[in-house]
Amino acid sequence: MQLVNRGEGRLFLSPLVIFLLLFLGFPAIVNLVYSISTVTFETLRAPELSGYGNYLDVLSDRYFWQASWFSLRFGIITALAECLIGLFLAIFLNPLLGKRPYLMAPLMLPLMVAPAMVGLMYRLVLHEFAGPVPYYLWMWFGDSPAFLDADNAFRTLVVIETLQWTPFAFLLFHTAYSAIPSDVREAAALDGARGWTLLTKIELPLIKPTLIIAFFIRFIDGFRVFDNIYALTGAGAGGSTTSLSIYIYQAFFKQGAIGKAVAASVVLFIASLVVLYALTALGSRRKEKTR
C-alpha cells in the first residue's frame, strides 16, 4: 500500500526544505559571492567581483595555517584521549554501573553544561589568586605554572576539552559494550577465551563501529571548537589558541576583513565536505563488509 504518495511526501518535506534553503542555502551563496569580491562593511550590498584574491590572502596568511594546524592537532589529540579514557571507563566500570544505573548521572553531568560556561569556570579554577588549582600547587609544591600562557595553553585546553567530552565517548562505549549479547561471551568462554583475549579478540571487534563513529564525532567537534576556548582565553596567548572557527570569527568581527573571513569559511566548508565524504565512504565500506 502506498502510504505517502509523492505529492504528499514533497508537501511534508517542504517546510524543512524552505527553512534550510533560507538559513543555509542563501548564506552559502552569499559566502561564495563575497569570497570572490572586494567588500567592506560600507559596500555590503554592492560587492564588486574581483576574482580569487581573497583566497590568495587566506592561503598565504600564516595565521590561517597556524589556526588550521591548531584545529587539526586539537581535534585529533582530544578525540584520541576521549576515546581511550572513555573506553577504559566503559569496560572497567561496567560491573559497577550495570547494577547501579544512577551512578551514570555524575558521569553524564559534564555533557549538560555549556562548553562556554565550562570555559568561564576554568577561568576561576586556574586563576592565580582565586583558583584552587594554583592555590594547592603553591601550597604543596611552592610553584604553579602559568596554565594559559603561550607555552601551556594548548595542553591546558586539551585537558579541559577531554575532561568535558570523555563522558560522550564513554556513554557510546558503555551502551555498545552492554549491548553485546551474553551468549557471545558464553560461547567465547566455552572456547576458553577470557580476560584479555576475550576483550581484544571478541569484545573490541564487536564494538569497533562505535569506536570509529565516536572518534569521528569527537574529532569533528574538536576541530571546530570555539565556545570553551573563546570563553577561557578570549583566543589570546599570542594566537596560540586560535582555532579555525575563532580565526574566522576574529577576521570578521575584530578586523573587519570580510573577504578574508568569507574565503576562509569556504575553505573550511570544502575541508569538512572532504572529511564527511571520507567518513561516508568508510561507513558504506563497512556495511558492505558485514553483508
Binding site: 527553512f19 572497567f92 565550562v118 576561576l124
Partner: protein, 273 residues
C-alpha cells in the same frame, strides 16, 4: 580488591570531570573576603549573599533578562525544529521521498562547523532587522537542533509498525490524519526526548548568541561572560560563580532528571547518524 579499585576509578573520574562545576559551586557560597584569603575547596563561613545580590540587584545585573532570553530563544529553537522535522520525518520514514538526498544532508549538518554560515547570517540579520532579537536567535537555534530532531523522529517513526498506518488508511484516514491520530501518540516519548535534547543544546549554544546579540536578546551563556569583563577593578569571583551556577542549572537539572531518555537517544542519534 578489584571492586574497591573500580570505586576509586569511578570517584576520580566523576570528580575530575565535574571539577569546574564543583569549584564554582563552592566559590559561589564564599564571601569576597574568604575567596581572597582561601582559594581552597572548603568554606569556613558559607553565605548566600552572592546569589542574593545577583538575583535582586537588577540595576547592576541583568541576569533575569539573560535567563528569559535563553528560555525564549531555546523554546523557539526547539519547538520550531520539532515542527519542521516531524512531518518531514514521516515522509522520509514512510516513502522514498527525501531519503536519498535530504536526510543524509541534514544529518551531516551536525558535522559542518556552523561558523561557516555565521557571517552571511549576520549580514542577513542586519538587513532583516533580526540582530539582537530573541526571535532571530531562536531561528538560528532551530538550525542547530534540526539534525538531531530529524534523526530522532525518523528512527522513532521507522520503529512504528507500518500496519498501524495501513489500518488507518483502510479506515479512510488521510495522511495528515494518520500522522496526527496514529503516529503522534505513539512517538510521544521521542517528542519528549527531542524536546529535552533540543532545549539543552539551544540553551548551551554560545557562538550565535555572541555574534547576533548585543544587549536586548543576550542569552545566559554570553551574559555570564559579561560578569568577567573587569571594568577597572578585578573580577568579583563570588557573584561571577553564582551567575555561572545559575546559568548552568537549567540544562543540568533537566538533563539529570531525564537522563534515561537522553541516554538512549544520544547514542541512537550518534550511532545511526
Amino acid at each position: 580488591m578489584m571492586r574497591t579499585l573500580r570505586w576509586i576509578v569511578f570517584a576520580v573520574a566523576a570528580i575530575a570531570m565535574n571539577f569546574p562545576v564543583i569549584v564554582t559551586l563552592i566559590t559561589s557560597f564564599k564571601s569576597a573576603r574568604e575567596i581572597s584569603s582561601n582559594a581552597g575547596l572548603w568554606i569556613n563561613a558559607p553565605t548566600l549573599s552572592n546569589y542574593l545580590s545577583v538575583l535582586t540587584d537588577t540595576t547592576r545585573f541583568n541576569i533575569w533578562l539573560y535567563l528569559f532570553n535563553s528560555t525564549m530563544a531555546a523554546l523557539i529553537g526547539t519547538l520550531l525544529a520539532m515542527a519542521l522535522t516531524f512531518p518531514a520525518a514521516y515522509a522520509i520514514a514512510r516513502s522514498e521521498t527525501g531519503r536519498r538526498v535530504l536526510f543524509p544532508m541534514v544529518v551531516n549538518l551536525r558535522a559542518v562547523p556552523l561558523i561557516i554560515f555565521a557571517i552571511p547570517l549576520y549580514m542577513m540579520y542586519q538587513w532583516l532587522g533580526l540582530l539582537d532579537t530573541r526571535v532571530g536567535l531562536g531561528l538560528i537555534l532551530t538550525i542547530v537542533n534540526i539534525p538531531l530532531a530529524l534523526v530522532i523522529f525518523v528512527n522513532a517513526i521507522a520503529d512504528v509498525p507500518v500496519e498501524l498506518d495501513e489500518a488507518a488508511k483502510v479506515d479512510g484516514a488521510s495522511t495528515l490524519a494518520t500522522l496526527r491520530r496514529v503516529i503522534w501518540p505513539v512517538v510521544r516519548p521521542a517528542m519528549l526526548t527531542s524536546f529535552i535534547f533540543g532545549f539543552i543544546t539551544a540553551w548551551n549554544e554560545f557562538l550565535f548568541g555572541l555574534m547576533l546579540t548585543t544587549s536586548k536578546a543576550v542569552p545566559m551563556t554570553v551574559g555570564a561572560s559579561f560578569f568577567f569583563a573587569a571594568s577597572g577593578g578585578g573580577v568579583n569571583w563570588g557573584t561571577a560563580s553564582a551567575v555561572m551556577i545559575i546559568g548552568a542549572l537549567p540544562p543540568a537539572v533537566i538533563g539529570l532528571m531525564m537522563y534515561k531518555q537522553i541516554f538512549g537517544s544520544m547514542t541512537a542519534g550518534a550511532v545511526k547518524g
